[in-house]
């Protein structure tokens, strides 16, 4: 049986791993290679490196660490942040990344997703979606996609409906979606299960949950109630609050299929 994936996200800024709360107040968490190796040794299933400054600064991620990570670790990893062209993506994949993830540039030009899928295959192409629950003028709630979330001063609503955007991303050739629920990010009250279920039902590609994990039970809730393929988290792993091996044993005791 395919296991549920536990994914550690390393937000990268200026070559260091950082983490903020609700995308703000970034705090230094350590060296990229050291953290990557520690996670691989502890049995994390996958790593995502997200250059949180790149997309809004118009820079591409500094590639030297991609190559170093690929040489060092033997689990899959994805690189996100400021990938705006086929050449940007090719350079990162050639350096040894397994997947690239696009977010704001795909919102600016959705055909970019199709071009990436055509060039490298859908399995390499992850679309990251930053989504926030908003109340419309008529009082009803809806999920809206945000862009340029790496920099709070530039963060704006794309006005796109999250469910529709996820479906479009799949249609254009995305091989996976990482759904970051911004209302829950960094506040450790659990994943946004309602929203995740909505997206899970809207597409057939893998969906990874991001934002809100603060306790062991949050991962169990995610896997037991949503059909979501993986749970991504950052600060609870980096701080050592939830060690990967104990999380996996906890999930296994709940009869959730994991890799131990």
């Amino acid at each position: 049986m395919l296991t549920k994936r536990i994914i550690a996200c390393l937000d990268v800024r200026d070559g260091r791993v950082v983490k903020g709360v609700q995308f703000r107040n970034h705090r230094d968490m350590g060296d990229i290679l050291e953290l990557a190796q520690r996670y691989a040794d502890e049995g994390v299933d996958e790593l995502v490196f997200y250059d949180i400054t790149a997309s809004s600064d118009g820079r591409v991620v500094d590639k030297s660490w991609v190559n170093n990570v690929a040489r060092r670790i033997n689990i899959p990893f994805c690189v996100a942040g400021g990938i705006r062209s086929i050449d940007d993506a090719r350079a990162i994949l050639n350096d040894g990344a397994d997947k690239i993830s696009v977010n704001s540039p795909a919102l600016e030009r959705p055909e970019f997703i199709s071009e990436l899928a055509e060039a490298f295959g859908t399995q390499c192409v992850v679309v990251g979606i930053d989504s926030r629950l908003e109340t419309k003028d008529d009082g009803s709630d809806k999920y809206v996609v945000y862009q340029y979330t790496g920099d709070e001063t530039k963060t704006i609503s794309s006005k796109r409906d999250t469910v529709a955007w996820a479906a479009e991303a799949e249609r254009r050739g995305a091989g996976e979606i990482v759904l970051n629920c911004m209302n829950n990010d960094g506040v450790k009250r659990g994943y946004d299960l309602t929203q995740l279920r909505l997206i899970r039902e809207a597409v057939t590609i893998p969906v990874i949950a991001s934002g809100g994990a603060g306790d062991y039970a949050h991962f169990a809730d995610l896997f037991e109630t949503t059909g979501i393929d993986g749970g991504l988290a950052a600060s609870v792993f980096h701080s050592g609050q939830i060690p990967i091996p104990s999380l996996k044993r906890f999930l296994q005791d709940r009869d959730i299929e994991v890799r131990l």
């Binding site: 395919l2 390499c124 057939t204």
Partner: protein, 211 residues
């Protein structure tokens, strides 16, 4: 010398790095003479079958690969290319192993691509040398939307909606649907087992592999 066939796709570096971690240098090449002279050959590949076959054709590598007698390991799409056909673009493949690769069916409630860690089940009575030291039920990392059927050449299978070939061997031609270079210590062990295989001039290997 270990030749890694450069079929033009991205994502080949991770195979070379995995060999480096095992203390072996791999040479990335599309030169038929270099490939034919290698001790062992790895055929990696990601992306679509028709594109990969067109690239091998353009590089003049189809007959070169078919004629290899040393151990060859196809990885992911590289494994599928060893088979006869793929439903993907209805593409004729290298035809070294019998069978047609078919797509997973999302209408059966499956998430596609099959992406993540899944279990290997050994097939047959004696485990293939590639599985030496690998625990039954070990998890390895898969990323694919098409899969090869289980056949007499399957040495390990995996289950995702259906049983499919995870590891295949026919004579000197072997293939892994999963990514050993990204499958943690289990994958490293399988790659190490491949590197440790005797060369094809050794008849005992042929006996062992073909039964």
């Amino acid at each position: 010398m270990i030749a890694i066939i450069d079929s033009g796709g991205a994502n080949i570096a991770s195979v070379r790095f995995a060999l480096e971690r095992l203390g072996v240098a791999g040479e990335l090449t599309a030169d038929p003479a270099v490939i034919a002279a290698a001790d062992k050959v790895i055929l990696p590949g990601v992306g679509a079958a028709p594109v990969a076959m067109a690239q091998l054709e353009a590089a003049g590598l189809i007959e070169c690969i078919r004629g290899l007698t040393q151990p060859v390991l196809g990885i992911c799409l590289g494994m599928q290319l060893l088979f006869e056909r793929s439903q993907e673009g209805d593409t004729p493949l290298l035809g070294l192993i019998k069978g047609t690769c078919r797509a997973f069916d999302p209408s059966a409630g499956l998430t596609v691509p099959h992406m993540g860690w899944n279990r290997l089940s050994a097939v047959g009575e004696a485990p293939h040398p590639l599985l030496s030291g690998v625990d039954l039920g070990a998890h390895v990392y898969f990323v694919h939307s098409y899969a090869a059927p289980v056949s007499e050449d399957t040495v390990a299978s995996c289950s995702y909606g259906m049983d499919f070939t995870a590891l295949v061997a026919r004579g000197n031609f072997m293939g892994a649907q999963f990514h050993p270079e990204r499958s943690g210590p289990v994958g490293a062990r399988i790659l190490g087992n491949f590197l440790a295989l005797p060369q094809s001039s050794d008849d005992r290997l042929k006996e062992r592999l073909t039964g």
